[in-house]
Amino acid sequence: MSPSLFFHLVLLETKKLMSYRVDFWITMLVALVVNLVILWALWQAIFAESGKELIGGWDLNGILAYGVMVFLTGRIVRGGDLQMTVATDIYDGSLSRYLLYPRHYPFVKYAQQVGNILPDLFQSLLMGLVAIPLLGISTTTDVSPMSLLMAIPSILVAHLLFFLMSLTPQYIAFWADNVWSLSVMLRFVTMLLGGAMLPLTLFPESIQDGLRWLPFSYLFEFPTLVALGKIGFVQWYQGICYCLLWSLLMGLLSIPVWRRGDLRYTGVGI
């Protein structure tokens, strides 16, 4: 796909999303405020009741910064509301339109997905600038302009990985009557095992060891740790490479499913 077409699709999707501006801001503001309230109350209580100064290698301000940052990066990685569009295209027959285009369907969808995250990226940056300074200084994080810069490619590859991971469950729509529950299931699993609900250092050692062999930590924990300055340059470079490798694997996995599904597809009205 040519870059100009890719960016054109990105822009179209962004414009479409911004046509419901009130929805866009309400969703973000309420989610951020609720998350801040819960995060602060929960960790304040845990630190007070356990009497510990460090939990899983984090002090109170550090874990709050993690919570805010993982919330902001997580929104971008998950890419808004596009998770069900592939299945919807299959169900309502709009896939037929894409099959006639001279571009491969997943690339068009990916361009739309990127368009969908651009406003989120801007919003998250804005909210991060407001929220992070309010949390106070932590001895367990080291946020710097360099760490924030390094976080941007980490978030983008994590987003690519999440998109490719979501693709195969969506293709099941060629066979199943409804795959919404599969997408939600994927979300539950990735949120917990990817570190979106809790830093993975809080998990028991044996589970942490197992999670290192799985792609989930690259989705949420990795970009967050990079942004918080907890990942060195070499580790960051390795992390990006692993994430791209997992993306490649997920992409390859989706190809045979697409091919088989495509053979079964009957467009509405055709």
Partner: protein, 262 residues
């Protein structure tokens, strides 16, 4: 009343036969909800690896609290969730006409007509988890505590529905309430944590203005600390006021409803 009960039985029959037509979705949804239950239990189990108490509750108590919340979620998914999904669509397409002209309450009909039979199995699973967490509780839980807890649990499920309706009804004016509904689901996360972790002012807001703590946190407190008449009166009073307010809001919305075909 009998007429409404008979009507509800018809809804149940129809929902069960329809859900069995989509068997794959039936099983997917069951697995999805089980995954949700597992994630919630694992989340608190990991937290309790690092502390003995949270909001004054130990691990055995938090298990009952979480299981109670899972039961409420399952009731919501079974009884109300599908219906909530349809309300904005019916309003925007003008299909509400068919329900407004029927000789039964439109609020009753639209809130209860679609019973999610697949989620009903999850309700049984969630109830099983609750029974297990109560049976493994090491101390004696009084019978009256238990009865009040179960009663307030059902009340909590009803209150959850009422609160969601406040976020649904604006669709009569706004035409899209997607942002509001997402905001509602974000806000309900507040009820998934013990009440005592919140500072006093937040707790007051969450017991009056947006009473999410009355859904499961306070019923759990009544189970562990015994029935406090004032607290029970408060929970039931706020639920009744919220329901009456919601019904008035619904009627106001209906008055503003202009059918798409007119």
């Amino acid at each position: 009343m009998i007429r409404y009960l008979r009507l509800y039985l018809q809804f149940l029959k129809f929902s069960f036969s329809r859900s069995l037509e989509y068997r794959m979705d039936f099983w997917f949804r069951i697995v999805m909800d089980c995954m949700f239950y597992l994630v919630q239990l694992v989340f608190f189990t990991i937290l309790y690896q690092h502390t003995d108490l949270l909001g004054g509750w130990n691990y055995d108590q938090i298990l009952i609290f979480v299981s109670g919340f899972l039961v409420i979620d399952a009731i919501h998914m079974t009884v109300f969730s599908n219906n909530m999904w349809w309300i904005p669509i019916l309003v925007n397409k003008g299909d509400l006409d068919y329900y407004v002209v029927r000789p039964v309450s439109s609020l009753f009909f639209l809130s209860l007509r679609d019973f999610a039979a697949n989620s009903f199995l999850n309700l049984l699973i969630a109830s099983g988890i609750l029974c297990w967490s109560i049976l493994r509780y090491p101390e004696e839980l009084g019978t009256s505590n238990l009865i009040w807890f179960l009663f307030l649990l059902i009340n909590g499920a009803f209150l959850h529905y009422v609160l969601q309706m406040y976020f649904q009804i604006p669709v009569f004016w706004t035409h899209t309430n997607r942002g509001l509904i997402t905001a509602f689901f974000s806000a309900t996360k507040l009820m998934e944590r013990p009440d005592k972790i919140y500072p006093i002012w937040t707790r007051r807001i969450l017991m009056t203005v947006f009473p999410t703590l009355l859904v499961i946190a306070l019923p759990s407190r009544i189970l562990f600390e015994g029935p406090d008449p004032w607290l029970i009166f408060w929970v039931l009073g706020v639920t009744a006021c919220s329901f009456l307010g919601m019904r008035a809001f619904w009627n106001l919305g209906l008055r503003h409803y202009s059918s798409a075909s007119s």
